[in-house]
């Protein structure tokens, strides 16, 4: 093996930093999935009839479906009867009403993760909804947001307090029949975040959800629903971590975004689930359905994601461009290291006239990581003058990893303009030598080259998040070299 490859291997061999377990008394249902479990989840949440009906319909539909097999990922079969579908910290049985009611152990967990839950940390300027295993444990800044008419609360609370909104929008972008994992989520989801921005309101702070899987053998199935009414604006951040465990844990979330006329939603994710160890043991299986709909004219949805974690990532944040002149964007950095596998990309469906979409994907593969970009650009017959620009770049570190690009383009309107550019490069020994010959340490050089590669995506992240993302990439790649 050439020395530079060996150096790269050392550089990328760092340990996961969020791998600790919090000891809490929990209320966890026995493993397995049947109608009784679903009724029990619904009952614990004191849900209205329509929710239970919806869940049961989803469950019955799910029984008829099989896992999709088209993705470029490999894993042993998932035993869905060996997962517990609900786990909640005991002290928060009915949901804490304020931060002071939170288990201090839980607060310490979030402190360790660097999540500002205390409202005293106003300066952070981020309102956080924290989801721990299955339930939402704290939402900060609620009162302040309420003054503007903004609803930002745990999903279970929205079901109680705003059932009409939930009923109107739930499943309207990702129906329960959408795909195997979304269907499963519809049946068993236990919590998540709900957000509604009233007409003409610009949300004055970043809203944020923080997800953490703690309990052993549980899956996390959260559901996020964000509605930006006419002319509203919201920027939303999502972060994720999990303890280190030898067995794989399932995460099957659904996120639905709805932008009405003239509304804008920016959704950013930094996903740092436990990726498994160097031999590929353990780690999160992340099967997530994220889709936004530009329902009104002149609306705008953008997804930005930085995916550094999970053993498997299966995720295609998409935009349905229904309104005329609507805009969809997808900016992505996906890093796979060791035995991680990522099959990620987006779907842009152009329905309205003069709709525009931009896709910018940066895949980084290291170790034995496999990274696939899979994207669909679909222009329907009515989408006069639709435009898409797609750019997929792959960077390879070392010689045992892989990068794959699978673009699909379906155009049914002759006025459409669709562009696709793709590149694959290797961190060259040339680049590395150029840096080290100027006195720069190899690990700093790799980190600098990778950051440069991702720059165009990071520019779309909110400031503090961009710094975090850069650090995260640095951490994933830093290490000692000879």
């Amino acid at each position: 093996m050439p020395t530079s490859t060996k150096q790269l291997d050392e550089l990328i061999g760092r340990e996961y930093r969020h791998g600790f377990v919090t000891t809490l008394e929990t209320d966890t249902v026995p493993r397995g999935l049947n109608e009784e479990v679903i009724r029990m989840i619904s009952a614990r949440k004191h849900e209205p009839e329509f929710m239970l009906d919806w869940r049961l319909k989803a469950y019955r539909y799910w029984l008829t479906k099989a896992e999709p097999e088209w993705a470029n990922i490999h894993h042993p079969p998932i035993d869905y009867q060996n997962i517990s579908y609900y786990s909640a910290p005991k002290s928060g049985k009915d949901g804490p009403r304020s931060l002071s009611e939170l288990d201090p152990e839980l607060l310490r967990t979030y402190e360790k993760l660097g999540i500002p839950l205390k409202e005293q940390e106003m300066l952070a300027g981020v309102a956080v909804d924290a989801v721990f295993d299955s339930v939402s444990v704290a939402t900060t800044f609620k009162a302040k947001l309420a003054e503007l008419g903004i609803i930002f609360c745990p999903f279970s609370e929205a079901v109680q307090k705003h059932p009409e909104l939930v009923q109107q929008y739930l499943g309207s972008v990702v129906p329960y029949t959408d795909n195997f994992f979304a269907t499963l989520n519809s049946a068993v989801f236990s919590d998540g975040s709900f957000c509604y921005i009233p007409p003409g309101v610009r949300c004055p702070m970043e809203l944020s959800t923080y997800f953490r899987i703690n309990e052993k053998n549980t899956g996390q199935f959260e559901r996020t629903l964000i509605v930006a009414d006419k002319g509203a604006y919201v920027s939303y951040l999502e972060g994720c971590t999990a303890p280190m465990r030898d067995e794989n844990q399932l995460h099957a979330a659904v996120v639905e975004l709805i932008a009405l006329e003239g509304a804008q939603i920016k959704y950013a994710t930094v996903q740092n689930w436990y990726p498994g160890d160097k031999e590929g043991r353990g780690g999160i299986y992340n099967f997530v359905t994220k889709r936004g709909e530009c329902r009104g004219d002149n609306s705008h949805i953008s997804w930005t994601q930085v995916e550094t974690g999970s053993a498997i990532t299966w995720k295609y944040p998409s935009v349905v461009l229904r309104g005329d002149n609507s805009v969809g964007e997808f900016y992505s950095v996906a890093l796979t290291n060791h035995y991680q596998q990522a099959d990620t990309g987006t779907k842009m469906t152009h329905i309205g006239r003069n709709t525009r979409s931009t896709v910018l994907s940066k895949g980084i593969s290291a170790g034995r990581g496999q990274n696939t970009y899979r994207g669909l650009i679909k222009v329907l017959p009515g989408a006069e003058d639709a435009r898409n620009y797609t750019q997929c770049d792959s960077l390879l570190l070392g010689d045992r990893c892989g990068a794959h690009t699978v673009p699909y383009i379906e155009v049914k309107n002759p006025s459409a303009k669709v562009e696709h550019e793709a590149s694959t490069s290797r961190i060259g020994e040339d680049q590395l030598f150029y840096c080290t010959q100027r006195g720069i340490a190899p690990e700093e050089a790799v980190s600098m080259i990778v950051s440069g590669f991702c720059k165009a995506v990071f520019q779309n992240l909110p400031m503090e998040f961009a710094v975090e993302a850069q650090k995260l990439l640095g951490v994933s790649l830093e290490g000692s070299t000879g």
Binding site: P2, T3, S4, G428, E429, D430, Q431, F433, Y434, C435, T436, Q437, R438, G439, I440, A441, P442, E444, M448, I449, S451, G452, F453, C454, K455, A456, G482
Partner: protein, 251 residues
């Protein structure tokens, strides 16, 4: 300062350098000339620390250190600089960030405080002006979209900022028009002083009209076949490398 003794180097089993002896003292400017494939670039790259060469015999000492045992970043921090024949592009990394990171890595090693952005800019702007470089190049990605001349000047800028003790320039004159060549030569001449050694690797004598060397070596088939003063370069220009190769064979 630099002492190369009986250096034999192979690449993938093929011997490229076959017994090089070279002594460079502080304050001297050496020119290493030779036809294509004579091993000049290999020598410069090897001295700068590039991987992929097998040293089969000989030694290299730099400031009394075993230079071959040092990784490239340590050589750089000890004052070794190579101006690349083909400067490398690093997309997304600004020229300013790159150069500041390099400078501070070297300063740290020397026990100097790191320069902040303001001090760095002041320093680098002055040097750019002297090289006739557009300041906008600082915010552009390293060498990306630079013209050939801009890339070469960027190398000289880096040299001027990093202030090496041993500067090696690999074919810095290639691809430059006469005006750019003069600017580059001026930049190099300004750096000549009693402490610094400069090694010019070049195919043509053209650069040496502007940077007059103290010693000229002619490299052919992996060996230094002749050394002399600046006048040797002029003779080479007149008679070509064939003349020397014949002479060597005769002797």
């Amino acid at each position: 300062m630099l002492s190369v003794k009986n250096l034999h180097v192979a690449v993938e089993g093929k011997e490229i350098l076959r017994g090089i002896d070279l002594d460079v003292r502080p304050g001297e400017v050496h020119a290493i000339m030779g036809p294509n494939g004579s091993g000049k670039s290999t020598l410069a790259q090897l001295l700068a620390g590039r991987e992929g060469y097998q040293v089969t015999a000989g030694s290299v000492r730099y400031l009394d250190m075993d230079m071959l045992a040092m990784p490239p970043e340590e050589r750089a921090r000890a004052g070794v600089f190579l101006a690349f024949q083909y400067p490398v592009e690093i997309p997304g990394v600004s020229n300013a960030l790159f150069l500041k990171t390099a400078l501070n890595s070297i300063r740290k090693q020397r026990g100097l405080p790191e320069l902040d952005a303001m001090d760095f800019l002041t320093l680098v702007r002055d040097k750019m002006k002297l090289l006739g470089m557009d300041e906008k190049l600082l915010q552009r990605a390293v060498n990306e979209g630079f013209s050939g001349g801009e890339k070469k000047r960027n190398e000289i800028l880096q040299m001027a900022v990093l202030e090496p003790s041993l500067a090696m320039l690999d074919e810095t004159d290639s691809g430059l028009d006469i005006d750019a060549l003069k600017l580059v030569a001026d930049g190099v001449n300004r750096m000549r002083n009693a402490e610094r050694a400069i090694v010019l690797v070049t195919h043509y004598q053209r650069l040496l009209e502007f940077i007059v060397p103290d010693v000229v070596h002619v490299l052919s088939q992996g060996r230094i076949v002749k050394s002399g003063g600046a006048e040797l370069a002029v003779e080479l220009e007149q008679y070509g490398y064939g003349w020397l190769e014949n002479e060597v064979q005769v002797s």
